[in-house]
């Protein structure tokens, strides 16, 4: 018998001997008696039975896991509510009124503006995990703490966040801007919120933010292209970055009326002036926002 291609000789073996052995091997191929039809049918039934049994078992396991998960979540939620009720009595939380600029809480460097008819929200209030997740994907950067920045992923559409139109403005002092971990959690009241993060960073930007955040750069198209729901109001070193959320995903930039009436000339956006400390005052930012003519229609 001629050896098949690739049937090489083993080192140190006689080719003839190897060929003979392979021939013997091939000649010894067992003749297989076909499986009887009834045996074949029996095997098939066994297979189906085993499949359905394992599927039922899997469903049972899934049900048990689900029940345990629900029980765990209920317990966790109850615990969270209890903690919050305790916390609300022990902390001086700021009070916000719709359609007003809320006073920043203490030295947080934070102002929150809530459009008319919308629930007041405070950025430091814990967000839902979904919202927090979306923020990590869409927010620009959070500065000042020296920790790794959350990487935005502006190219990918984030999950929708609520259906509200909400502003949040963080004014100056990036190092005072609350960091993302503070947003972890849940927001039982409306579940939606938007956040914005301010930066006067001059280290350049890796996600399309204008490299030099001076007054001439704030409306650069790349800002809009890559940070679709963000408008920077401040032309100065200290920036206020405004995010809007308008009835849908953050990235629906083209259909989102970002600060209605604000075009790239900035004519409708008053210049923000820095104070003596080099930062835009909160009141200035607030007044700017209020000064936007179509503010309430956003």
């Amino acid at each position: 018998m001629i050896a098949k291609p690739g049937m090489d000789r083993e080192p140190g073996s006689s080719p003839a001997r190897t060929e003979m052995l392979i021939e013997i091997l091939i000649d010894s191929r067992p003749d297989v008696t076909p499986l009887a039809p009834d045996a074949a049918a029996r095997v098939f039934e066994n297979v189906l039975r085993e499949i359905s049994a394992s599927a039922a078992s899997r469903r049972t396991r899934t049900g048990v896991r689900l029940a345990l998960s629900v029980a765990f979540c209920v317990g966790a939620a109850a615990g969270m509510l209890l903690l919050r009720s305790v916390a609300s009595e022990t902390s001086a939380r700021p009070h916000f009124v719709s359609n007003q600029i809320a006073a920043p809480a203490h030295n947080s460097g934070l102002a929150v503006c809530v459009p008319k008819g919308m629930s007041p929200v405070y950025a430091r209030r814990p967000l839902s995990s979904e919202t927090a997740h979306s923020l990590t994907r869409t927010t620009i950067r959070i500065l000042g703490d020296g920790e790794p920045e959350p990487r935005s992923n502006c190219g990918a559409p984030p999950a929708p966040i609520g259906g509200m139109t909400t502003f949040a403005i963080f004014t100056p002092l990036p190092d005072r801007v609350p960091r993302m971990p503070q947003y972890e959690g849940d927001d039982p009241e409306d579940g939606s919120l938007l956040i914005c993060v301010v930066s006067n960073d001059d280290r350049g930007d890796t996600r399309g933010m204008s490299p030099s955040l001076d007054g001439n750069d704030i409306y650069k198209p790349n800002v809009f292209e890559l940070r679709p729901s963000c408008v920077m109001l401040s032309p100065l070193d200290s920036l206020a970055t405004l995010f809007t959320i308008e009835n849908g995903p953050l990235c629906s930039w083209n259909s989102m009326p970002i600060l209605a009436g604000a075009d790239c000339s900035g004519s409708l956006v008053p210049k923000l002036e820095t104070g003596n400390d080099g930062f835009v005052s909160r009141n200035t930012v607030a007044s700017c926002v209020l000064a936007l003519p179509d503010y309430n229609s956003i």
Binding site: E10, P11, S13, L21, I24, L25, I26, P30, V43, F44
Partner: protein
Amino acid sequence: MDTYLTAGTYPATDRAAELEWLHAARSGEQWALDELYRRHYSQIYALCYRILGRSEDAEDAMQAAFVHAFRELPGFRGDCLARTWLYRIATNEAINALRKRKRSVSDAEIESSALAPDDAPAVHRKIAVTAALDELRPDHHVILVLRYWEDLSYDEICSVLGLSMPTVKMRLSRARGEFRRRYGDEP
């Protein structure tokens, strides 16, 4: 034996039909599962039998293979033929079975004698070959069966075992060497 296990050499019409009923089988439709089984069980059984050498073991391995296959069917993307995929699963089941048991020569003798009662030398040779194969490592055993009894090409063995060509060649060479040592020691 037809040996086209790879998609490239499979008749296009059969391939298209296979994809069609495979799609239904992935959805768990009974008729499609039945089709998958009906088309392939005899080959899978023969493969298991040639590796394991006993009809009962072959049946068990075949059953385990189809259970495994039906469970994994939703994840089967059809990038190779169903037969190749089933061969792979059945081979793994047979290897597992080989590892679990050490087949005795006397068992082989009984079955082989029953198959060829009038040819004593041939029977003895088969027994010796079977005994030598059983002494091999399972992966060596299986690759020799695939190559010389199932008559698969090197490409097909690569697909079934999920190995690269050099690995298959190396393993086959070593398997032959081991077989030669085992069988060659026989009187």
